[in-house]
């Protein structure tokens, strides 16, 4: 008996858990961890970015009546829509960090949005000035300036439709719209990490709000190009469906590949530290 006891490895009870733990898989099983992984999958998804961009550009086309809105007369509205179409997607949580050339690209896209529809009618210094203004604001507004630019654009959109002078009403409406927008975004942001499909519904809602704005304030101009308008909205809707599919893919990719049972206070078996009764993982 004494001989046996001499063979006892004093470190056995300390080594054993480490030896056993190497065999157990630790899974990403918290909701928050899953949300992080999901977000990183979305950030790396180029098709999602392309679909988001197309949704934004199609929404711009639908909101401006596919070129029916005259940049010379309604320049604040056109400016605001162009700014929103270019800047809003990059404010989304899955959008990758902008590189050096991103600001130039945004400025060029913004200018092109104004210029290209005018090719069919007439390009004059007024149109070029608006295009330049859009490009300049998109190039200049970076970081937090982008948020301010989005708020300003929403403010302009609603401010110019107010009976009073836009210069006085736009800031007030801008603040109200920004407050409402921040509230809505925060509510959705709280949900979307856990239920990312809410983004699909929000995208549909954004497109419908843009349509509602156009129906309410620019109906005569839009009525001239209903088929093109339907086509633009259809493209936007289809891209929203693609977005929904990509988000679903991210959900599947980010789901945990294994779970552990809740650790117990009573040690059930051999390893005393890694005391999960059941471990299950995908085969």
């Amino acid at each position: 008996m004494i001989n046996w006891l001499r063979r006892v490895d004093p470190a056995f009870y300390h080594k054993e858990p480490h030896l056993l733990r190497t065999q157990a898989r630790i899974a990403r099983y918290t909701e928050e961890a899953q949300a992080e992984v999901r977000c990183s999958v979305l950030t790396a998804d180029r098709m999602l970015h392309a679909a988001t961009t197309i949704v934004a550009l199609s929404a711009y086309a639908a909101a401006t009546g596919v070129g029916a809105l005259d940049p010379r007369g309604d320049w604040p509205t056109v400016w605001a829509f162009a700014v929103l179409a270019v800047a809003a997607p990059s404010a989304l949580p899955w959008w990758p960090r902008p590189d050096e050339g991103a600001w130039w690209r945004h400025a060029l896209i913004g200018s092109a949005l104004i210029t290209i529809p005018a090719v069919w009618s007439r390009i004059d210094p007024a149109v070029l000035s608006i295009a330049l203004l859009v490009g300049a604001t998109l190039y200049v507004a970076r970081g937090r300036g982008r948020v301010a630019l989005l708020v300003l654009a929403v403010g302009v959109l609603f401010g110019v439709r107010m009976p009073a002078h836009p210069l006085f009403v736009a800031p007030l409406v801008g603040v109200l719209a920004a407050g409402a927008g921040i509230l809505g975004v925060r509510l959705i942001a709280r949900v979307w990490r856990l239920r990312p499909q809410v983004v699909t519904w929000s995208a549909f809602a954004t497109l419908l709000v843009a349509c509602a704005y156009t129906f309410a304030f620019d109906a005569p101009a839009v009525a001239l190009r209903v088929p093109a308008e339907i086509a633009a909205i259809a493209v936007a809707y289809l891209c929203v469906c693609i977005m929904a599919g990509r988000i679903r893919r991210a959900e599947l990719m980010a789901r945990p590949d294994g779970v552990l049972s809740i650790p117990q206070s009573i040690v059930p078996l051999l390893d005393r530290s890694h005391d999960h009764a059941i471990i299950c993982w995908l085969a």
């Binding site: 490895d9 809410v198 349509c211 109906a219 909205i233 809707y237 599947l252 040690v267 051999l270 299950c280």
Partner: protein
């Protein structure tokens, strides 16, 4: 094929429904006063509604049409070992395939429940066809593991609901003790066991086999002296004799302590019990390999002492493992003392007592038994087998 016993519906977040509903109303109100825009308004409003309605309907009908075509689960497994679990789902619908079916199983054992996945995906199950999802499960707790109910969730992108078909059938898996591999020198437990009950060793007969060596005691036959081992010792007066035994004799008793602790350290005691159970199982396998017949005795509950006669047969070892799988700390000291005394009194019985206490008790020291404390288990254990 088993139909889902119920369909659990999880509604989309209210904020999403509210935002979309409000925007639909806004678009409708803004478009109604303009007859020229009627087609545009109808399209703009109808498309999201139709998409959501279609996705919702398909999610629900697909979940209802799912059937379990089979569950592949073993009836028993060893603790620390993993087994493959497979669920085959058939699609009983006729029209649309089931897309993106996520399946999950619930596991429960002695108060521990895992019902949060992991969700295994079956990408597409066409109508009338079947798809299978698989998991690897490792059960670390000895006893009964219940697998089920199974869940199959369908949520198409844009759907307002997540429809989860729940199949209530539950499958029981007996989790046997973990498999220990013991050191070869565990044979030392058998050396000297004949003397334990006052039996004197004589010359071996034809049916007996060599089991080990022990120190020479007065009365031993000089013919049994192990010359090689004796020459190796430094003391010239120290000798070792060889021991023989008849493997078919039922003269080896293995008693397992199942009495709860007196000091209240239940966690540590439970830990020791688990190790002792696995050790006893491994020890019996070793004895069976040597063609020994063992009497296994332990207390299963109040006034419930179980005695198994284990011949070197797989069926007997299976019986032992099934018995060990259900053991818990339900013994008492008085019964344990009586059991030990009874085993010692059996003529010629050598008794190995696997104790849960770190030290031998006084009453046990008086008995001619081999007591293995929790400190001995690691000494004799070479490794735990992970399957």
């Amino acid at each position: 094929m088993e139909r889902p016993s119920r369909i659990k519906l999880t509604i989309a977040p209210p904020i999403g429904i509210a935002v979309l509903g409000a925007s639909l109303v806004a678009a409708t109100i803004a478009g109604v006063p303009h007859p020229a825009l009627r087609a545009l308004v109808v399209f703009a409003v109808a498309f999201p509604l139709l998409w959501i309605a279609l996705a919702t309907t398909l999610s629900y009908t697909t979940a209802r049409a799912l059937r379990t075509a089979g569950v592949e689960v073993p009836s028993r497994t060893h603790a620390m070992g993993s087994f493959r679990l497979a669920l085959t789902l058939a699609h009983g619908g006729h029209a649309f395939p089931a897309i993106g079916v996520l399946t999950s199983a619930r596991f429960s054992t002695a108060g521990v429940v895992v019902d949060a996945g992991p969700w295994a995906e079956i990408p597409v199950v066409e109508a009338g066809r079947a798809g299978t999802s698989r998991w690897d499960v490792m059960a670390k707790r000895r006893g009964m593991l219940l697998v089920g109910p199974f869940s199959a969730a369908v949520e198409l992108p844009g759907s307002a609901i997540r429809a989860t078909a729940v199949f209530e059938a539950t499958h029981a898996v007996t989790v046997l003790p973990a498999v220990y591999h013991l050191q070869p020198f565990v044979d030392a437990l058998l050396a000297g066991r004949h003397v334990a009950a006052g039996r004197f060793q004589t010359l071996p007969v034809a049916t007996e086999e060599y089991v080990g060596a022990r120190e020479y005691r007065p009365g031993d036959s000089p013919k049994l002296i192990h010359r090689v081992l004796s020459l190796r010792t430094r003391d010239p007066d120290q000798f070792y004799v060889r021991e023989f035994q008849d493997p078919s004799r039922d003269d080896l008793s293995l008693v397992l302590d199942t009495a709860p602790p007196l000091d209240g350290d239940a966690a540590l005691h439970r830990y020791r019990l688990e190790k002792a159970v696995c050790f006893v199982s491994a020890l019996c396998r070793i004895f069976a390999a040597r063609r020994l017949t063992v009497r296994f005795v332990c207390q299963r509950g109040a006034r419930d002492v179980v005695t198994l006669r284990l011949r070197p047969l797989n069926a007997d070892l299976d019986r032992l493992e099934m018995e060990l799988a259900q053991l818990d700390l339900r013994g008492d000291r008085a019964t344990l003392g009586r059991v030990l005394l009874g085993e010692v009194r059996r003529h010629g019985a050598a008794v190995i007592f696997v104790s849960l206490r770190p030290r031998e008790q006084v009453e046990q020291q008086r008995l001619p038994i081999v007591t293995l404390t929790p400190d001995h288990v690691p000494v004799f254990t070479r490794e735990v087998v992970w399957q």
